[in-house]
């Protein structure tokens, strides 16, 4: 890491240069070091999942199924989904940025349970290892959803190890959420009242609630799948009077709220960035805090909209359809309030802000198309088409990954003590935005025209090719956009300008300690006497980048 260079500059002791060696990292209980361990893990799995995505896009360039066989294609999209969701998206922001920042933002020395935090990381790595084993031992082709009875009765692939991998990773996620909740309740410094918490912390609180309350239900669902395969118990087996739809109920009870595990922390990041780069207090702080909680709770009431065509009761479908619309209310509050925050702000266009703009626009498109899918009639038309694929990629990639990259740029000076190259940063943000839209916008049209998802061969409908070629071209551009930040972040650790303690003149406790922070975050326990986002009290502007 950057430690050698830091030492040469004769800087003060910080969490990076305090100790050296493999052991000081693998046995650390410092939340900041564990965050970097997670960063290594999720980056690795991001590229594994991205590799599968690339193969999927290459296969779909031509209508014929010529690059891979059908079975291989089934494995590709399954493992793309499982790796990206369980090993990248869910841990990405909470376990990296949340882990790093929450204790600092609330003025604590560490999370409430540092050892459990380390245990979470080891569980994540254990789950990841099982996932890698699954991939190397021939893969799994259940779809990321493990639907029964396909997964229990018919497939001969590595379903059990994949299920175990997800189970273990789920345990890691539960422990992270539990740790955050206790930390936010019990470790706030004097003066850091609930109504002074940064919205990033509120967003993680809501996320943690979902992790703690939802994940166990997924865990038991996939344990029952594994038991059906291993011991021939039959909870979902129609031959024993079981209902395969029950698995879908249990699965989506977690997996729909899991979408909010992925997006809420991103919303937290955007609130921080938008305030900083428009030099304004957030518009409607209380509404914003209640909105993330609202999304978390209402998110638990809508799961069966994934099952409208699966054969659930039509009356239940109506209820779930109506409830699904309600998620739009707190989501719209978020978007309107970010926009209102920008109004008459003194806006500068640094890299994090570019990602934030990208997020707001793309999340809005993803969210509005979500309303199409909540609508019973339209959902029947577009279920299992590329419309759905495009919709959730707008939320997860256009929303979450944008927010993640924005957050990484925003806090990189704090994490590494170095500035990233601003020009390259803006270029990469632009490339990601263009590449993303070129990849996924054509998929909305494809889906509406009727192209189903999970097909490797569309030679009966060659008119889909032009849009698929556009999508694949976009994916290539997107790949360049992702490789760029990784390259210059690594470069900046050695060659970047040393970062000042507060490079953006931003509000928030994390900017009041040195960059990188000392091991216990603050030299003296801070005492908060101001409201969150007190930009009206900060006279300095964001420094102009070179």
């Amino acid at each position: 890491m950057a430690t050698a260079a830091v030492g040469e500059l004769g800087e003060r002791e910080n969490y990076l240069n305090r100790e050296y060696g493999i052991k000081s990292w693998l046995l650390t209980v410092d939340h900041k070091r564990i965050a970097l361990l997670y960063l290594a893990g999720i980056t690795f799995f991001f590229f594994i999942g991205g590799f599968f995505a690339l193969l999927i896009r290459l296969e779909l360039m031509t209508p014929a199924g010529d690059l891979v066989q059908a079975d291989t294609y089934n494995k590709l999209f399954t493992m793309h989904g499982q790796v990206m969701i369980f090993f990248f998206l869910i841990p990405a922001v909470p376990a990296v940025l949340g882990n790093f920042l929450i204790p600092m933002m609330i003025g604590a020395k560490d999370l409430a349970f540092p050892h459990i935090n380390l245990l979470s990381w080891y569980l994540y790595i254990l789950g990841g290892t099982l996932m890698l084993y699954t991939i190397l031992a021939g893969g799994v082709d259940t779809g990321w959803t493990f639907y029964t009875p396909l997964s229990t009765e018919f497939l001969k692939t590595q379903v059990i190890t994949a299920a175990l991998a997800v189970f273990v990773a789920g345990f890691s996620s539960i422990l992270t959420g539990l740790n955050f909740i206790v930390t936010i309740h019990r470790m706030r410094c004097p003066g850091m009242t609930w109504d002074r918490l940064p919205l990033f912390v509120w967003a993680h609180y809501a996320t943690s609630l979902i992790q703690v309350l939802g994940t166990p239900v997924l865990a038991i669902a996939i344990v029952l799948v594994a038991l059906e395969r291993l011991l021939h118990l039959g909870v979902f087996n129609p031959a024993m009077g079981g209902d395969p739809l029950l698995f879908q109920h249990l699965f989506w009870f977690y997996s729909h709220p899991a979408v909010y595990i992925m997006i809420l922390p991103g919303m937290g990041i955007i609130s921080e960035i938008v305030c900083c780069f428009s030099r304004k207090r957030i518009f409607g702080y209380t509404a914003m805090a209640l909105a993330v909680l609202g999304i978390a709770v209402v998110g638990f009431l809508v799961w069966a909209h994934h099952m409208f065509v699966a054969g659930i009761s039509i009356y239940a479908a109506l209820v779930f359809s109506i409830l699904s619309y309600f998620v739009a209310v707190p989501s719209a509050i978020k978007v309107f309030n970010w926009t209102a925050t920008l109004y008459k702000g003194s806006i500068t266009y640094q890299t994090p802000m570019l990602y934030a703009f990208g997020f707001i626009g793309l999340f809005t498109i993803g969210g509005l198309t979500g309303l199409f899918l909540a609508c019973l009639g339209i959902d029947v038309h577009v279920t299992d088409t590329y419309f759905v694929v495009a919709h959730f990629h707008y939320i997860m990639v256009g929303g979450m990954v944008m927010a993640y990259l924005g957050g990484m740029h925003f806090w990189w000076p704090k994490i590494s003590g170095r500035m990233y190259p601003e020009g390259w940063g803006r270029l990469a943000a632009l490339i990601v935005f263009l590449g993303f839209n070129l990849t996924f916008f054509p998929q909305f049209i494809l889906g509406y025209m009727g192209m189903p998802r999970r097909y490797w061969d569309y030679s009966k409908a060659p008119e889909f090719q032009i849009l698929n070629v556009l999508s694949t071209a976009g994916a290539t551009i997107l790949a360049v956009g992702y490789l760029l930040p990784m390259t210059y972040f690594l470069w900046s650790m050695r060659y970047g300008e040393p970062a000042p303690d507060n490079p953006w003149n931003a509000a928030g406790l994390e900017w009041m300690t040195s960059s990188p922070p000392p091991t216990y975050n603050f030299d003296e326990e801070p005492v908060v006497t101001w409201e969150a986002y007190n930009y009206d009290e900060i006279k300095e502007e964001v420094p102009v980048a070179q």
Partner: protein
């Protein structure tokens, strides 16, 4: 600190009450109560569980305010799972 130390007498009382309720629920299951057999079984089980939570798990005297809220939240979300699943199962036009 939360130190409320319950008396041995109270613990013994709760213990005996739990054993008594176990006998009661077995007895009740052998009576024909019509649709109320299941109600009685669940009511007694819930009463027993409440005794354990309130006295053995010290929730009645907990200084930690979040304890009660945590339990209520978990039960609330469990009920969401049950209610909305049943919304499907009880209204299906096919079986």
């Amino acid at each position: 600190m939360s130190e409320h130390i319950s008396s041995v007498k109270l613990y013994v009382g709760i213990w005996l009450a739990l054993l008594l309720c176990t006998g009661l629920t077995v007895f009740a299951s052998f009576q024909d109560l019509g649709p109320f057999n299941a109600v009685a079984a669940l009511a007694i089980a819930t009463f027993k569980a409440s005794l354990v939570v309130l006295f053995f798990m010290h929730v009645k005297y907990a200084s930690e305010k979040m304890t009660k809220l945590t339990i209520v939240t978990a039960i609330f979300f469990f009920l969401i799972l049950i209610t909305l699943s049943l919304a499907d199962y009880l209204t299906r036009l096919w079986t």
